[in-house]
Structures are given as C-alpha cells and as structure tokens.
C-alpha cells in the first residue's frame, strides 16, 4: 500500500514539475473539440447538444491514450522500470500507484475539457454535474486500469506508440458503451441509469483485478 502511495506521489510531483503530460492532453482535447466542429458542420444546436456526450467521450478516450502512452516513457530512462521491479512487496501495488496517478492527471484534463465543450457547444453541464462526474470518474478508472497495464507492456515493444491504441481500444468498448449512455442521461438532465453505473462498477472491478495480478508478470525480468 505504501508503495502505491509513494509511486502516486512521485508521479504527481514529477508531473507538477514538468506539466508536459497534462498540457499535451489538454491541448489535444481542445483540438478535438475544434475537429468535431469541422467534422459536423451546420448542425442545429439542439442536435449537437445531443451528440456532445459521445463527442466528449471520444476526446476523453484519445486524450487518455496520449497520456497513458507517456506514463511509462519516463520509467525507461536509466532503467527505472527495472529498479521498480526490484522493489520488495507485491508489484500489484506499483500498478495501483501508476494507475492512480494516471487517473488523477486524466481527470484534471477531463474537467477542463468538459468546460471547453460546454462553451463551444453551448451545453449546460451544471444541472447533471454529479451524475456526469460519477460516470466520468468510474469510466476513467476502468480506462486507467486496463490502460496502465497495457501501457507497461506496449512501452517495451518496438512499436509502443502504435501498439497501445490497438491493444487498448478493443478492451475499452464496454466501458465506452456504459459511459456514453450514462453521460447522455446526465447531460439531458435525467438521472443516470442504474445499469450504466452497475456496468462501469463491474468492468472497473474486473480490470483492476486482472491488472493487479497481471502486473507481476509485466515487470518480471
């Protein structure tokens, strides 16, 4: 447990000092909002509002891929990953620390991105904010669980930037299905359907368990 907290703290401090990952993800997300404007021209504002949750999640997904790809890049320098593998205790805690750091950083970007989307697409997110926040928080937890595990694998193959999306996206479709349904309800001012939250809980649990156990073999040298 202490290992997880130490790694979480280390990742947050190093990100605070450089701020490169959050800034890159944020700029990318804003660019996505602009891309959607050109990809869906001349939409009537009402229709666009209905599409916003889906667009928002598309931006979240790709921004998260960007951030996850970098989450182990730093650890390759001076073989820091090898050093981590030598740390005593269950390596699952290393995974949890990394995943928690990813979750925090991606969540920061998501909050800011949601604001940008609200302004660009004239959607009032405030009424359904708690529902939206819980869906996004849970969905991102699943993304970080699978993403951290797969990023640790992808970073040590020859084609890391290419491989992570190919590995990760198929695993994220169930999360996307639940998260978009939940977000649509929240944005429309309806209560988030119980099924969405239930689905996200189940997937988060399954991915966290698989990744916690699997991480031992990822770092194993």
């Amino acid at each position: 447990m202490n290992v997880a907290l130490a790694i979480l703290w280390k990742d947050l401090v190093s990100e605070w000092r450089s701020r490169d990952r959050v800034v890159a993800m944020l700029i990318f997300s804003i660019l996505m909002a602009v891309v959607f404007h050109f990809a869906l021209p001349d939409q009537d504002p009402e229709a666009l509002r209905a599409l916003t949750p889906g667009l928002l999640w598309t931006a979240y997904l790709f921004a998260a891929l960007l951030g996850l790809n970098r989450s182990f890049a730093l650890e390759l320098e001076n073989d820091a990953l090898g050093g981590l593998a030598l740390a005593p205790g269950n390596r699952g805690w290393i995974f949890l620390g990394k995943a928690a750091a990813n979750w925090v950083l991606i969540s920061i970007v998501q909050v800011l991105t949601a604001g940008v989307f609200a302004v660009f697409y004239r959607v009032d997110l405030l009424p359904g904010l708690t529902g939206l926040a819980s869906v996004v928080g849970l969905g991102t937890l699943g993304i970080c669980a699978a993403g951290t595990l797969l990023a640790a694998m992808a970073v040590r193959t020859g084609f890391r930037e290419v491989l992570l999306p190919v590995l990760l996206l198929p695993a994220l479709f169930p999360i996307l299905a639940g998260a978009v349904q939940g977000s649509m309800a929240a944005v429309a001012g309806r209560p988030v359907p119980f099924e969405s939250l239930q689905l996200l809980f189940v997937i988060d649990g399954v991915y966290l368990i698989v990744a916690f156990l699997g991480f031992d073999y990822v770092l194993d040298e």
């Binding site: 699978a146 193959t157 479709f173 239930q198 698989v210 194993d220």
Partner: protein, 252 residues
C-alpha cells in the same frame, strides 16, 4: 514459479514437450478423417434441399455457425493456455496459445466474411450492429491485437508473458461484452438458439457434417501450427546452443 527465470530442470522445457509429441501423433489420422468428412460434407451440402424463403443463400448455414464455434474455441484455448503458461511456465502451452490464436483469427475472419453475405441475402443489409456481430467484431480486434503484440514484440519470453496476459484479458472480454449487450438491449437479429427441429427436412445432416468437418479442420490446423511453432522454438534453441557452445543458454 514464473516463466523465464526458473533454474530447476523443467521436463516440459524439452522441445517438443511430451504433450506436443503426443498431440502431433494425432495429426495424420485426423487429416485422413478430415479428408473423408469433407467429401461427405460437400456432397451433403450440394444435395441438401433449397430453402423456401431464403433460397440457395441459406446454405451458408452449413459454414457460418461452425466457423463461429471454431473462432470462439480458438480464443478460449488461447486464454486458458496463456493462463497455464503464466502460472506454471509451460512453454509448450505458450506455443499452443499462438497456434490457437492464429487459427481462431482465421475462423473468425471467415465468419465475418460469410456473415455479411448471408445478411445481405436475408436481412437486406451487409452489416447491422446486432449483438453477436458486435461482440464478434470486437473479439476479432482483440485477437488481431494479440497477434500484432506477438509480431512486434519478437520471439522472446517477455513477449510470451505479455501476450498471455492479453489473452486472459480477451477471455474476460467475452462475457463482459455479452453483459453490455444484455444491459443495453441491442436487438439481436440472430436466432436465439438452434432449437431441436428448427432445421428443415434434410438440413440436419449437412449441418452436422459441417460442424464435424470444420471442427476437424480447426483441430488439424491447430496441431499443424503447433508443430510448426515447436519446430521454430527448437531451431531457436539449437541456434543459441551453437552460439554459446554449451547446453541450452538462458534466454532473454
């Protein structure tokens, strides 16, 4: 004990392993049975009656579901073989996982090709986001990614471990995807089940033979691919011995 760093002699590290040697003896007889089955299968499909409503295109039935069973079987074997490899360091089962993933992808690809042809003929569209279609497409992507991971990572114990973890993740995704679809209730255009007697007169035999022949083809290809993989591993092994000039060199 983790794969790749065991020091105790491991009887399963022989290439081919006892299991591989035993299984490869089955390949030739299976090939003969498969050849005979194929003749019967082809004859029965040709002589099967033509469906009243769907016409001749209904004969895809004798190929399409058996391909689906093969695809799922391949993915399940990949997942479980990977699990045993991770837990016990059985390299022969890692080779089985590769073989099974490749054969599974072939079956899945053929299913995804035959499906739209049938769909165009009966539903009028090439593709619908039907529950089973969606799940199968996602699984196809998972196992394509699995093969890419194998390809990009190269042939080493580390890639084998990564692939095994990914295979287990793929195995978890099968029920998870069905769960998603059950919750969000995408209406299925596939029949729920082939109930007893839901096939017309004279359609049972070709369907049965189709299942047997394609199951035979699945296992034949699986054994063949497994053999190839174990021969490759032996070549690698002998290569490293020759370079180091001693008994088997530690890998990675």
């Amino acid at each position: 004990m983790k794969p790749g760093n065991e020091t105790a002699p491991n009887p399963e590290a022989d290439i081919p392993s006892p299991l591989e040697a035993r299984m490869s003896r089955w390949r030739r007889p299976l090939g003969i049975v498969l050849g005979l089955l194929t003749i019967g299968y082809a004859w029965s499909v040709v002589s099967a009656p033509i469906d009243h409503t769907q016409g001749v295109i209904q004969k895809i039935l004798y190929v399409h579901p058996p391909l689906a069973y093969g695809a799922y079987l391949g993915f399940v074997i990949t997942g479980f073989a990977g699990m045993v490899f991770l837990g016990r360091g059985r390299e022969d089962l890692d080779r089985l996982a590769i073989a099974s993933a490749e054969v599974g992808v072939i079956f899945c690809t053929l299913m995804l090709v035959t499906g739209p042809i049938w769909a165009r003929g009966t539903w009028g569209v090439w593709w619908s986001w039907d529950a089973r279609l969606t799940v199968t497409l996602l699984l196809w992507f998972v196992y394509l990614a699995y093969l890419l991971l194998r390809g990009f990572g190269g042939r080493n114990p580390r890639t084998a471990r990564f692939a095994a973890i990914y295979g287990v993740l793929g195995l978890v995704l099968i029920p998870l995807n069905y769960y998603v679809i059950e919750i969000f209730g995408s209406r299925s255009m596939h029949p729920e089940n082939l109930k007893q007697g839901s096939l017309g007169d004279g359609m049972g035999l070709p369907f049965l033979l189709g299942n047997l022949a394609l199951a035979g083809a699945f296992f034949y290809l699986l054994l063949l691919r497994w053999e190839v993989e174990s021969q490759r591993a032996r070549e690698d092994d002998q290569g490293s011995e020759a370079r180091v000039g001693g008994p088997r060199a530690p890998k990675d």
